[in-house]
Amino acid sequence: MSMTGKAWKFGDDISTDLIAPGRLFHLRSNLLELAKHVLEDADPQFAQKMQPGDFVVGGNNFGCGSSREHAPTIIKLAGVSAVLAKSFARIFYRNSINVGLPALICDTDKIEQGDELEVDLGQGTVVNKTKNVTLRFAPLPPAMIKILNDGGLLAHIEKHGGFKLD
């Protein structure tokens, strides 16, 4: 399955406070509304300017900080098709897979703001069409592939009546 879109480039250490700010804590039970402010404190324009299907591209330690699942959830609700980074913070990575947002580890130094990307989850590739460069992303652990393929953790549990990760 192939996804295409524009890259929105962010730096290192994009925290969950930058993704889903604490001052908007009261919107946690209104995720569609909170999604309108996604990444606002990192880039005030992002939520308004991005198009469904675009990619969020970070550096190191993307998603550091809180365990708030709201962070990857609102990135997905905003229409982002995948998050790419050189490395992810642990809880964000696991949450991202749980909510069905692919989190892909690759050399994002080769991606700049506005580059057109084509991501193939099956092939494991990220093609930077603007720069004519093909990157490979690190394979997900098998347990996480199962969860992602089932559509996220809740769908996995409902489908199998419990965990089925072998």
Partner: protein, 435 residues
Amino acid sequence: MGKTLAEKIIGSHASKEVTAGEIALVSVDVCLTQDGTGPLAIRQLQKINLEKAANPKRTILFLDHAAPSPRRELSNDHITIRKFTEKTGACLSEVGEGVCHQIITESYLNPGDILIGADSHTCTGGALSAFATGMGSTDVAVGIALGKTWLRVPETFKVEVNGKFQPGVYPKDLILHLIGMIGADGATYKALEFCGETIEKMSMSGRLTLSNMAVEAGAKAGLIASDETTKKFLQAQGRGSKFRKISVDKDAVYERVIRIDASELVPVVAFPHTVDNVKPIHDAKGVKIDQVFVGTCTNGRLEDLRVVVDLIKGRKKHPKTRMIVVPASKAVYLDAIKAGYIRELVEFGASILAPGCGPCVGVHEGILGDGEACLATMNRNFKGRMGNPEGFIYLSSPATAAATAIKGEIADPREFFAKKKPVKRTPIKAKKRKR
């Protein structure tokens, strides 16, 4: 082959012995959510008709991040949480009871347990020799309903600390020093295992500070072997019979060993906007501070308040610096009242708030104004953390916070100790930093 604490505890909850790198399906002993993450967990269970708790008496839903609630939407979230506990028999920790990680260790968690919590600082429980780790709402929701989760067994970094702290240096300085050294992602996916003479002699309160901040180096858990200190702590909480000896095997395999001489450490401060932006006090002195905040799961315990009270005795708070103090739990608050600390803090000029997270999460009770700086005993200083991306957060020990409240700018607590001149271990020129 010998096992690390992580391998031991996870193995005892899986159907087999485990080694770092393996995936294990484990039974879960304790689950927690807080009021920011609980409502989403509940809605997820409602979506798949699984609104139940496998272990209701060890499933606790806390109201602490927005407690008392500052807004209608959050009050409605609190109602959602209360209804869930009524329906399932799970435990509710009400507004004013205190911070989840403090109460979990006071009242629920035991050595050898697996605790999963919908809050990143769930790793605090590692000080009680439990495998305690933070996860998202859906993971914890499934843990609540099914009593199970899956874990990748982490590799372990051994953090061996020997030597005695110099006066004015505390466990908070140690953990900030470590994070500054290895970086905010230096231990991502790993378990930290704290050991050595300094740890053995450390109070449970100090150990909780260390484990609490393991996640700020990216770690999955921050574990400490159980011992007499653990036993005495459990006895004091009325859970002495729950003590178990959880110790490390001598031939356990570690990915990395980090050795620290505690006697070499100085007070440190984490500068905005990352926890690993740690500088020695010499480099921090003189930064003007508008608000000092003492509290949180990191440093909101009786021992922390005692350090503050001892330092401020007979001194006055700086007129241009506000001070907020939040006891981490009702039990801490009551003990602090009995000890006379609350009176001393109020007379000094501090505002005492209801036990809970207070201004830590930027939801209420101490949000910063544009350009303002706060020095806090909390665990995270990301941009916008305290409710205003135009604010600046510095992290320190309670002693450094108390000294700062007196001077109105970041100050070296050692200058307030009688007689002995502070020993300068690192010859660093003090610089005035621009914000």
